[in-house]
Symmetry: C2
C-alpha cells in the first residue's frame, strides 16, 4: 500500500536536494527518509533514484514521480479544505441584506430559530446578493422588492418608513411632513453601510452634502451635539429610542418607504419552514 507520507517525503527530498536536509525540515531522522524512499520504489515497482555510496539523486522516473506526487498532495489538501468549507456552510445561516434594519431583525430571528448554527450577515449591493443567493453563499437574502422566478421564492416580512430627524430650531421643525426635495441642498449626517438607501439618497437629493459616518456611536454623538439634520426610521427608533433633542418628521415620498422581502431558493423551502413560520 502506497502511503501519503511517502509522497510528502519524496517532494521534500526533491525540494531540499539531500535526504539529510529534507529530514531536518520534516523534523524526522534521516534514516527514516532512506527507508521511506526505498519503500516507495518497492511499492511503485520502479527505480526512482540513482545511488552511489553516499549520494542519492533522482532519475527520470523519479522526477516524473515528483510531478505526480505534487498533484496528489494538492488534491488531498484541497479535499480537506473543500470539505471544511462545505461543512461550515451547512452549519452557518448566512443572511445577505440590502439594508440595515431588516438585517438586524432577521439576524435576531435566525439566532432564535437556529441556536446551534453560526449566524452570518452582511449588507451588500443587490446584484451581489442575487448572485450570492444563487451560488449558495447566502441562505436567504433581503430585498426591497418582490420576484417571480422558478427557483426563487420571496416573502414580505417587514416595512420601514424613513423620517427626517431635525433639531428643534430648524426652519422646518414645525412642519407635520416633508418631502425629500424640500430638504435637498443642505448638509446632512448619514451612516455608512446603509445599503440600497444610499443610492436612494444620492438619487433623490442630488444637491445635499452627506457627512458620512463609519462609527455608530460617533453618529449619535453628532446627532446630540450638532444641529445637522439626519434620517431615522420607525424601526431604528423602536430599537434605539427617539432622540430627545430632535423633531421627527415623516417623509411623504414613496421612496422613503420600503417593503422588505425575504428571498430564498425553493429547494431550501423545507429547511426554512419553521424559520419562515415564526417570521410572519
Amino acid at each position: 500500500m502506497i502511503e501519503f507520507e511517502q509522497l510528502i517525503h519524496l517532494v521534500a527530498f526533491y525540494e531540499h536536494q539531500t535526504l539529510s536536509e529534507a529530514a531536518k525540515h520534516l523534523h524526522i531522522s534521516q534514516p527514516v527518509l532512506t527507508r521511506s524512499m526505498q519503500k516507495l520504489e518497492e511499492v511503485m515497482g520502479v527505480t526512482l533514484f540513482q545511488r552511489t555510496k553516499n549520494r542519492i539523486s533522482f532519475n527520470e522516473t523519479g522526477f516524473m514521480a515528483v510531478e505526480y506526487a505534487k498533484r496528489i498532495i494538492n488534491d488531498t489538501t484541497d479535499m480537506k479544505k473543500q470539505l471544511q468549507l462545505f461543512d461550515r456552510t451547512l452549519h452557518t445561516f448566512s443572511i445577505g441584506s440590502c439594508a440595515p434594519a431588516p438585517n438586524i431583525h432577521l439576524s435576531q430571528r435566525a439566532s432564535q430559530t437556529y441556536p446551534e448554527k453560526t449566524i452570518q450577515s452582511e449588507i451588500k449591493d443587490m446584484d451581489v446578493l442575487i448572485q450570492g443567493l444563487k451560488d449558495k453563499t447566502y441562505t436567504i437574502i433581503i430585498m426591497p422588492y418582490d420576484i417571480d422566478d422558478e427557483n426563487i421564492e420571496s416573502v414580505p416580512f417587514m416595512e420601514e418608513q424613513l423620517y427626517f430627524s431635525l433639531p428643534f430650531d430648524h426652519p422646518y421643525a414645525n412642519k407635520s411632513s416633508l418631502s425629500l426635495k424640500e430638504m435637498d441642498g443642505q448638509k446632512m449626517l448619514l451612516m455608512s453601510n446603509i445599503g440600497f438607501w444610499n443610492q436612494m439618497h444620492q438619487r433623490t437629493m442630488p444637491h445635499t452634502k452627506f457627512l458620512i459616518q463609519q462609527d455608530r456611536s460617533v453618529f449619535y454623538d453628532l446627532i446630540e451635539l450638532s444641529t445637522l439634520p439626519s434620517f431615522t426610521s420607525d424601526f431604528m427608533m423602536n430599537l434605539e429610542g427617539k432622540p430627545n433633542n430632535r423633531k421627527i418628521i415623516p417623509i411623504v415620498d414613496e421612496e422613503a418607504h420600503a417593503t422588505f422581502y425575504c428571498w430564498y431558493l425553493k429547494e431550501n423551502e423545507n429547511n426554512l419552514k419553521s424559520f419562515l413560520y415564526h417570521l410572519v
Copy 2:
C-alpha cells in the same frame, strides 16, 4: 496525517453500504473500519456520517468526500501505472521495422550493444512506424527510404536483394536473371508478415496467387517438398543457407532491391551513439 488507506475504506463503505459488508470485502475486521472512519472525520475536521446506535450512513459532506476520495485513488493508481510504463520504456530497446531481414539484423546488434535491456521488435506498416517513432513507442524504426526532417535522423545500414527460388525443373530455371513481370501469373509460396515487401508483391505481380504461410518451418518444408516458386534474398540465404533443391535467380527490377535506413529521433542521438557506431 491523512492516510491513503482511509480513503479506500471510505469508498469501500460507500460501495457496500454497511461497514460490516465493506469489511468483508476488504478482508479486515469490522472494528477497523469503525476506527478508520472516525479517524478520517477527525483528520478532515468535519462530520462525514450520521450515526444511530447501530447504523451509520453518509451525510452530504460524506458523499462529497467520496467523490474526492475516488479521484485521489484514481490519480494514485494512475501514478503507479504511468511510472511503471515509463520505467519499462527506459529499459526497453524497441525496434519497429518495415521488413524481416533488417529487423533480425538490428535486433541482434541491439542485444549485443544493450545486454541489460529488453529488446522488443515488430514488423508494422510504415505509417504506424513513423507515428510510433514520434510518440516514442519505438526507439528506432527501419524504413526503406531516407528522410529529411528537423526531428528525425536517418542512417542507411544494409541492403537486401530479392531472388526467385525455383525448382530445377522450372521452365525458367536456366535463366541468369528474371523480371517480376516474367514470373507474374503463377502460384508462389510466400511468408506472411514480410512487411512492405508484401505491398510490393501485390503491386508488381497482380496476377500471381500467393500461398501465404504463417509458419516458417512449414514454409521451408514446402520449399523442399513442392515445386512452387518462392522468393528469397541475399540476407536470408546468408542466414539460413541456400536451399539445395532450388535454383536461385536474381530479380532485375529495381523494386526487388531495398536499402534500409535506421530512423531515430535526433534527441536520442547521444544515447544511440555507440549502437550506431557498431552498426555502420
